[in-house]
């Protein structure tokens, strides 16, 4: 059996490892589209930028010769196309690799907004390790940096740039920060927090263009904004969003939408081809509908489930929970599931503007379906637990409507309700439990 | 020749965890029991299988009986023996 995994992010690596754990003899090849000695994690890049870790610290697996020891062939190469009838992957160098089963886990890439100057030197996205190396060349202490986009990824980079000591202006087209992760209250809190930390936050503002030259001695670029002002920049970081890497699939028989279309077994429309992670549209647990959820835990979940299906263990994917956690210069926020709430659902809110604390719980009936959280980190995973398991909160729903801060009690009360015994939290299906 | 032993009535009170050793038909934690004349506190307790090591506080008509005297003094009709395992309060 020949398994080929295209893409060496968390989805690809997890899939390769899962395949090996099921099938001890198969040939497994994992192909990284980026020229790196090891698969690495994008989640770790901000920590690399501000020097908390070395490059090696970003690697997905930390043991020496991890892939060699597992009998997984790791190689670098860009995919030029797929011959789904011939069961072959074409690499851009001309080489073809045959497969019995193929996993596409090619991830996503940052969107470069169509604006003048987006390709100037000193303008970078912050997505790959290579981007990070480029950014490091410009992000010196005191350097003026313009960060375009205050979404989830923008905010993660913000933290790193802040810790590097850069002078930051953040420009966001939407009327608030993290608009796709949290509501006005939370976004407003984050914005105030950033201002307090000395970051210039411009929301409802568009970048009209970037041009070379600046009045400021420490900047080589000038960023013109829709509010009529211009900001000098030694570095412009673009973080306006990502899109799935699927262009190479044209004509392959693998149907795509925003991402690759998959069924509940993460099979694509082409035989023996599966997809996982940011490049595909898996099921969103909250809506039951396909969606591209570009987050690490979902990539891992997809990777495992796809591999189990590829290896002949039919494992349906019931859906992934959309969730995010963000550290904005020390203010930690998170959101889960249907944080926008349900049309007829009830909402519990705790707002403490002075102390930058916010907790919002969204219910449908007596179940938690979504949550947002700012400034609170203790036991925050319980939010996921409640949403994921769909536990009936019963009377605790009303208690939470009165006092959402009693969330942890509510969780323990309903999850440990009976018998009066045992360290058992909610019944949750781990990916392995889904097998068979 | 058979001798009949006269019996007397005494009250046995077993408290806290010793309550489990009370004979059937007790009310509250007390039982009226018939014992042969000449019965000592120890023999009364033994006859109800009250573990000796658990008999920490033994009061005869409210007066503490040190362990040494529990096997000596003979009970009289109407006596009340109250026993507790080690307990305290405040």
């Amino acid at each position: 059996m020949d398994y080929v995994v295209l893409g060496a992010g968390p989805a690809g690596v997890t899939a390769a490892e899962t395949l090996r754990s099921i099938d001890k003899t198969a040939r497994i090849t994992i192909i990284n589209g980026e020229k790196e000695p090891q698969p690495y994690s994008r989640m770790a890049i901000p920590y690399y930028i501000y020097g908390k870790i070395e490059e090696g610290g970003t690697y997905l697996r930390q043991t020496e010769d991890h892939y060699g020891k597992m009998g997984i062939e790791y190689r670098v190469g860009r995919c030029g196309g797929i011959d789904s009838k011939g069961h072959k992957v074409h690499l851009s160098g001309g080489e073809s690799i045959p497969y019995d089963k193929l996993l596409i886990a090619t991830g996503a890439s940052p969107i470069i907004p169509p604006m003048p100057g987006a390709n100037l030197p000193g303008v970078h996205t912050c997505w790959t390790l290579n981007d990070a190396r480029e950014i490091l060349k410009h992000a010196d202490k005191g350097s003026p940096v313009v960060l375009v986009g205050a979404g989830f990824i923008g905010c993660i980079i913000l933290e790193a740039l802040y810790l590097k000591g850069c002078k930051i202006t953040i420009v966001e087209f939407a009327p608030r920060m993290v608009a796709r992760m949290m509501d006005e209250t939370a976004g407003g809190m984050l914005g105030r927090w950033c201002q307090k930390k000395g970051v210039d936050v411009r929301v409802s503002t568009k970048v009209e263009g970037i041009r070379e030259g600046s009045d400021s001695p420490d900047a080589k670029l000038t960023v013109d904004l829709s509010d009529g002002t211009s900001v000098p920049a030694a570095l412009v970081v673009l973080a306006v969003g990502v899109r799935s890497n699927i262009n190479f699939l044209v004509g392959s028989g693998v149907e795509t939408n925003v991402g690759i279309k998959v069924n509940e077994y993460l099979e694509t429309t082409a035989p023996d081809i599966y997809a996982a992670g940011d490049c595909c549209e898996g099921i969103d647990l909250s809506t039951g509908k396909p969606d591209m959820l570009a987050i690490q835990p979902v990539a891992v979940e997809h990777g495992r489930i796809a591999a189990q299906n590829m290896a002949g263990h039919p494992t349906p994917h019931e859906g992934s929970l959309n969730m995010n956690v963000l550290d904005t210069m020390g203010l930690i926020s998170s959101s889960f599931g249907l944080w926008q709430g349900a049309p007829l659902g009830k909402t519990a809110k705790l707002i403490d503007e002075d102390n930058f604390k916010y907790l919002k719980l969204e219910f449908e009936g007596d179940k938690l379906i979504g949550a947002q959280c700012v400034g609170m980190t203790d036991h925050v995973g319980m939010l996921r637990g409640l949403i994921q398991t769909g536990f009936h909160l019963g009377e605790w729903r009303d208690k939470l409507l009165e006092a959402p801060e009693r969330l942890r009690e509510a969780y323990v009360a309903v999850s440990q309700a009976r018998p009066n015994y045992g360290p058992v939290a909610p019944h949750t299906n781990t990916p392995v439990a889904k097998a068979g | 020749m058979t001798t009949t032993t006269d019996t007397i009535q005494v009250t046995l009170k077993l408290y806290a965890s010793l309550g489990a050793h009370l004979p059937a038909g007790h009310t509250r934690n007390e039982a009226r029991v018939e014992v042969p004349e000449g019965t000592t506190i120890l023999s009364l307790l033994d006859s109800h299988n009250v573990p000796r090591e658990a008999c920490h506080l033994v009061l005869l008509n409210g007066v503490f009986q040190p362990p040494g005297s529990r096997g000596n003094a003979r009970l009289k009709a109407g006596d009340a023996v109250a026993v507790w395992p080690p307990v305290a309060g405040g």
Partner: protein
């Protein structure tokens, strides 16, 4: 068989000796807010529930970690390797039990590691509400039973309910 913490809330008196022992072992001072185990107090129901990590066989936190900083040791314990943890907090939202927490002082995550073999909480518990024993023993069977009941408790309607298929 691995040993596990078996918790019986029915025996807990709410004394928090477990929290004190845990915080002392982990931080060198007595600080219940740093304890990896927490006792929840439901006073109107006269019930106290100690709560900590269950060391899942297939741990959500471990899978979610982007840099492999959470590893399984020989005793099946999920351990955070401080030298690898970057502090991204993904595990804190991934763990559906809420037992991986972020420590703002160290900028790393903390979780119960069973004190690598002799949990201080179990040793400190005066009523055996927390014991450390072979997970195959009685407690674990009851846990499984409970898991089954919990599965029934979660109704299979609505978009959020886990659906058992296949």
């Amino acid at each position: 068989m691995h040993k596990a913490l078996v918790i019986d809330p029915g025996k807990c008196t709410g004394c928090k000796q477990c929290e004190m022992a845990c915080s002392y072992v982990k931080t060198g001072e007595f600080n219940v807010s740093k304890s990896r185990i927490r006792v929840f107090d439901f006073h109107t129901e006269a019930r106290f529930v100690p709560y900590t990590c269950t060391q899942c066989a297939e741990a959500w936190c471990q899978q979610a970690c982007p840099v492999n900083a959470i590893t399984t040791n020989a005793d099946g314990v999920k351990v955070v390797n401080d030298n690898l943890c970057v502090g991204c907090k993904v595990c804190t939202i991934a763990c559906p039990f809420g037992t991986v927490n972020y420590n703002a002082e160290t900028k790393k995550v903390i979780k119960c590691d069973l004190c690598l073999g002799s949990p201080a909480c179990a040793e400190a518990c005066p009523t055996s509400a927390i014991t450390f024993q072979d997970s195959e023993q009685a407690g674990f069977d009851k846990m499984k039973l409970w898991a089954t009941q919990a599965a029934h408790a979660a109704t299979h309607e609505g978009p959020n309910a886990p659906v058992a298929k296949g």
